[in-house]
Amino acid sequence: MFKFIGTYRLYISIVATLIVLFFLMYQTYNEQGTSRFQMAVQTITYPVQTSVQSVVSTIKNTWNSYINLIEVNEENKLLKQQLLNMEEKLNQHIENSVQFFRLRSQLLFAQKKAHKEIFSEIIGESADNTHQIRLINRGSNQLLQRNYIVIRKEGLVGRIQSVSPYQSSVQLIIDHRSRVPALIQRNRVRGLIYGTHDGMEMRQINQHAKIKIGDRVISSGLGNLYPKGILIGWVSGINHEPHELFKTARLDSAVDFNQIEEVFAILPSKSDSNLSVE
């Protein structure tokens, strides 16, 4: 027996390593939480990421503010801010009017709950090319937990996939594993937002539903994960084959995921039942 092990120890260790790795992968796939190894790696890499991010943003800010046309930059910021405010107001107006005509506005206002938002900066992103993950500089020390929602003023960003003490990884809604129950704001047609490799699609739309390019898409609140009414994007194309049961709409996202530097993580209130948190 020992002779056999001695002769084939290399092959045995290779096979054992593969078995252990498969077991680990299967376990982390099933548990869908943050493993200790992942937490350790994220905790160790956190200081490097934050310090580099801090240095780069300082240089960037200096360049933008003092060298690169100060006034134009400030004016641009102001206009962008105004545009965002208008966009948010428009979103609220449309949402409120639709709800009013459906005699639900009072009820919805009564149900509105106060959320606490935690400001976070993006300090890194997924190390591979397959997944759309961003790392933020807030973690379990700031009370963040898996499945908390991450937004920006423009709209929905994603959900927290894993947390370590000082940082969390956020799965963007354009990640191919992401699913967000959504509806067309104008006519309340339901669908499911799928992340694709190069953007988003709204699938499982009723084949008789009347949707048009430019329709605003918001989260529907179904599934108890994403709160209702958060802007996701606009319909940019519609695809429907006659033999298919459902329509598919391509979406332009409200958030420019290539440009985001700061996000807000939503801490649900204690009475909030909209967010399911593990």
Binding site: V56, D128, H131, H176
Partner: protein, 166 residues
């Protein structure tokens, strides 16, 4: 042997650093270069030590932690790729810049195919063929272009830390 392991560990840490910092700000053709894989492949082509394959498992697990979170996926793909790389250098001499670049490109394609295949089992909606074409193949070319610089730094590291044994 110990020196080689320490040198490899050092390069691995540099690879991690480049993966998490450099890739965030520098994305040629929108792709993230897998520095850890290049370092460990180049070292394997030069030394073919089995310990490098096991070090590759560690590298893969770090990459898993910094991406999708399925610990072991890249660990497996790195491990298998490095084991095959050890066999590959028995077939042809891979110690010139061009040969190493070519070998790294081929191995990148293999690693990409393995990781996407395993990922496809976990995430059924993953479009593997599309990702192979839009991500893995261009990445393999990029890796091939970057490899001479990595090889040069590995040679430099060997000269300084391993000395005559390199």
């Amino acid at each position: 042997m110990m020196r080689l392991f320490m040198l490899s560990l050092g390069f691995l840490l540099i690879g991690v650093l480049m993966n998490i910092v450099f890739n965030y700000y520098f994305l040629p053709v929108g792709l993230k270069i897998n520095w850890m894989l290049i370092f460990i492949l180049v070292l394997t082509f030069r030394h073919s030590s089995i310990s490098l394959s096991f070090l590759g498992v560690f590298a893969g697990m770090i990459l898993d932690s910094l991406s999708h979170g399925y610990i072991g996926l890249y660990g497996i793909s790195f491990f298998v790729t490095l084991l095959l790389a050890r066999q590959l250098i028995k077939l042809f001499y891979a110690n010139t810049f061009f040969a190493v670049s070519l070998a790294v490109s081929v191995m990148t394609i293999l690693e990409g195919w393995i990781s996407l295949s395993i990922l496809g089992m976990l995430e059924t909606e993953l479009n593997q063929s599309s990702l192979m074409l839009t991500s893995t193949l261009p990445l393999a070319v990029l890796h091939g272009l970057v490899t001479p610089f990595i090889l040069q730094s590995v040679i430099w590291g060997e000269n300084h830390f391993i000395g005559d044994t390199a």
